[in-house]
Amino acid sequence: MRRNPKRNLQDGCGSGILARAAAGWKPGPLFMLLVLAATSSAVTPDDAQRIARERLWHRQPLHPASLDLREELDVEINRLLDRYDANGRLQPSYFSIGITGSWILHGYPGEQAYILADALAFLPSNTQARVKAYLYDELRARDPTTIGFEHCDWGWGACELTGNRREYFTIPTSPNPDPIAPNLWPAPTVQPEGLYMIWRYCDRSGDWAFISDHAPPVGERWNRIHAMFHAIPDPPTRYGHLAAAIGYARILEHYGLTNGPPYSTALDRIHAGMVAGTDFSVWVDDSYETFLFGTHDWAWTPFHYLRNQNAVGAMLAPEVGRFLGEFAYSNVYRRTTFNPREGEPGEDYAVESIWNGWYLTRGPYAPLIAWMGYYGENHMVTPDTPWALFMTRAWVYGESGDELRRWLDVPYSIGDLFHLQRLTATIGAYSDPVWSAVQPPALRAEDGEAGLIRIIASGAVHGLYAIDQSTNLIMWQSVITNAGPEVIVTHPLDGPGMFFRARAAP
């Protein structure tokens, strides 16, 4: 495993432009991709803005080497949906960890929404439609701005373990005389990380009405989204906070609210978080203190936002992985994969180097290293720990699809969201990922001759992409050189769902 040079590629572009649609056709923003090679050891405000604004795209056609994984993704998601159709909403997942107790996984509604929405790009159209319909209903029934984690009531006997199950095994539940009852009291509150998940769901699914169908947005949900952002400490103290601020900024961008204090505050918060989070070791240790200290437990928690009260929540956004790859790579690598000075005084063992079965479903747990407080004995490895290591390889190291495939293994359950995320990241890694900004409003598009769209862009446009609106995949691209202050491009309308993005150079 070596650092992917692509992680050094940066887009130094300035503002973007948006096209307006021709009558009867829904346009999207246009953007331009300009690639510059640049790295920096200190995070500047420009760095923070760049990472906050640039999104991960994948090109069409998808790489044939990922075909089996796409089929697997389709099968696994349809299993989830079939179970939903047959018996109703899927409950969170239960996992007995060993001597430490038991955990509830996938209990935050936003987690399922963003992971499934992320998979949309790689699913056939019929499954896409099922996923969108499922999530549309789910999010309106289980609002991630109000539900922090599936929870029923006080005390033992939580009803999270009743209902439609993800596990392959049967859980004895009340009124069984011998029920399993992890205690989720007090109820976990909504965490800021939901902001990123909600943005990603809305963006990938197109269901922006979930937040608001007004521009500017209004309503109680919109107010709660603001409150979620203001729950992020200044400076942020964990990587999920960074993602949350990015998600918030992108929600503001979608609604064109980029000129007011909320947007600049979000960018400032992102920068402050990146400055603070550049020292990966500090935040790793903080996460241990927060989630594991004093427990007889072992896990790898830098990307967690919940891991107490029997509730597990974790998220590593691609943008955060990119930030770590650019500004904290060696630190991440030393703590996660291999530390050439491990064993020396004051030096940590990297997680993977002491735990060679880290990627195995129901695999062995990590060995003890001097029985450090959080390296406890007697537990099973919970699914969130291999997930954290896998996503580090995917988003921080930028490993190839062939490399990530080695670490996929198999799901713990039906609707194992950690496994679905691994599959999606691996398929994406095969698909020539591109980072590029979205800066609406930008271009305008007009009807051209029959069957053609005419795109008029201002500025030195260097790249133009046609995006499939339902999958967010890049359908075609055009590189424009020597562009003047305005460029006009005509292109066949390949499908009604296409929209265009481009971006001007500074």
Binding site: S96, I99, T170, Y365, I369, W371, N378, V410
Partner: protein, 502 residues
């Protein structure tokens, strides 16, 4: 008897010795020494050779004069059985998570990458290979009658011709011939007996298939979280290898035939332990400090209570004794076997000596002989399990039979050992193997055993000076291999060979 053909009688050709996973090599004897507290002077030895490799996986196997073991670093190694010298190693392209098998001069390997290999036991050269899906294999191959049986993590179970590598049949868990069950990984190593092959899938069903056709004979839903147990091994001073070892089915010819599975409990172990401790004390009216050995009548009271508790709370069952022909319960009440192992792992299936009609297993009893620990350790013990016993007898209050017998204590009070003694408490996920005169227990904490003739424990190695990890912990939880006058252990540092007798 059903043993894999094609190996010398003193070999250990596959995981847990034979195709039925009995784990018992009746042709071997070892020195057990005398009971010794926290010393390493009691049992077999001395060490005759050692070979260092921290990335090994599974239980070593012995055949063709070689000790053969796979590794997490994509290689299979063959060591000279007498000297420990590396004879060959072969790159199989992906990690090997479990044991190999060596039968008819062929080393059979199933990899995490999804390929089954047959290598020459002489030089490691490839004879054939066959590739399956990317999901790979966690189970060890079982070889019986010229056929390889192995389940994959994509839910498919395969019968493969040992000679040619051709796939004779495949059965898909949750597939068209298994409607009504979820497709799920197979992590469990299969057992073969009398034309049937038995395994468990992670959909928590046990299966019995026809070895010739792969047709499903029966399917049986059982409780538990998984069939897997991960070997808990580690080191506090150097990088340590870890192995992945799924559970296995064990088949026995006793009492008309029985197939046994153990599963990882659904319950969180601390709660389970506390709950069962309370239950045992209430059921027996005693506790571990008050009456550590008990009488036969007291054992009966306890065992009756356990069987009835399991019958009333089936989700607590983690040992399943099934009819090989039908998958139905072998007995009309559950065997009085409570979950044990403080690690949260599944207890391992019994060691079975079908020639003498004996079996042994770890379980929880208030009359266990160990130890001075608290919460986790009390009540775990190794016992003689009676497979010719139906717990229904407990419905008769005057019944005088036992489902299991704790080991006799030859010299009280030494039977109440201190913490440092060999962990017959089964606290740490032990793997048991056996030979004519002894059972051998290997855990990540200690190695030792039980003299079947004297009933006394013996120690070989103890890996930690205290329970706080003050010394390295690098135990061997893969099971001791008894082959050709040697005891061969894999721990996190590599392979060690001991003379079985002085």
């Amino acid at each position: 008897m059903v043993f894999a053909a094609g190996f010398a009688c003193g070999d250990w050709p596959q995981l847990q010795f034979d195709g039925a996973n009995r784990g018992f090599s009746s042709g071997q004897r070892i020195r057990t020494g005398v009971h010794a507290d926290r010393t390493t002077s009691g049992g077999y030895g001395p060490e005759s050779w050692g070979w260092t490799n921290r990335w090994l996986a599974g239980q070593p196997v012995v055949g063709n004069g070689k000790v053969i073991v796979g590794s997490m670093t994509n290689r299979v190694f063959a060591l000279d059985e007498t000297s420990g010298v590396l004879v060959w190693s072969t790159d199989v392209g992906a990690p090997v998570l479990n044991s190999c098998a060596v039968v008819d001069g062929r080393v059979v390997v199933a990899t995490q990458g999804g390929t089954v290999w047959a290598l020459s036991a002489v030089d490691g050269e490839t004879i054939w290979s066959v590739s399956f899906s990317r999901h790979g294999f966690a189970a060890a191959p079982t070889v019986v009658g010229g056929r390889i049986f192995v389940g994959a993590k994509d839910g498919r179970f395969h019968g493969i011709d040992l000679e040619t590598g051709s796939v004779v049949w495949s059965f898909e868990v949750g597939g068209s011939e298994d409607m009504g069950a979820d497709r799920a990984a197979i992590l469990c190593t299969a057992a073969v007996m009398d034309g049937r092959v038995f395994f468990g899938a992670e959909n928590m069903h046990a299966y019995g298939l026809d070895t010739e056709t792969g047709a499903r004979i029966w399917r049986r839903g059982i409780t538990g979280q998984s069939f897997v147990f991960g070997d808990p091994v580690g080191s506090n001073d150097e990088r340590a290898g870890i192995t992945f070892a799924a559970g296995w089915a064990v088949a026995s010819e006793q009492h008309g035939g029985v197939v046994i599975f153990r599963t990882q409990p659904i319950y969180a172990p601390p709660w389970l332990l506390d709950s069962e401790e309370t239950f045992l004390e209430q059921a027996t009216g005693t506790n571990w400090m008050g009456n550590p050995l008990g009488t036969t009548n007291e054992w009966i009271v306890e065992q009756r209570a356990i069987s009835q508790r399991l019958a009333g709370n089936p989700s607590r069952r983690t040992l399943w004794a099934l009819e090989p022909a039908t998958g139905e319960d072998k007995y009309s009440l559950p065997l009085p076997v409570l979950w044990t192992s403080g690690s949260g792992h599944a207890g391992t299936p019994p060691v079975v000596d079908d020639e003498s009609g004996r079996a042994w297993v770890t379980l929880r009893t208030v009359y266990a002989r160990l130890d001075s620990g608290s919460i986790v350790r009390p009540y775990g013990d190794l016992v003689n399990l009676h497979l010719d016993f139906d717990p229904a007898i407990y419905t008769n209050p005057s019944a005088g039979r036992l489902g299991f017998e704790p080991f006799p204590c030859a010299a009280p009070p030494d039977c109440i050992a201190v913490y440092g003694d060999v962990h017959k408490v089964s606290d740490e996920g032990e793997v048991l193997t056996g030979c004519a005169n002894a059972l051998i227990s290997t855990t990540w904490v200690s190695d030792g055993g039980y003299d079947l003739e004297s009933g006394q424990t013996f120690n070989v190695r103890y890996y930690s000076s205290d329970d706080l990890g003050g010394a390295p912990l690098y135990g061997a939880a893969a099971g001791a291999v008894l082959a050709n006058g040697r005891v061969i252990l894999r721990d996190t540092t590599g392979i060690k060979s001991y003379a079985a007798e002085p």
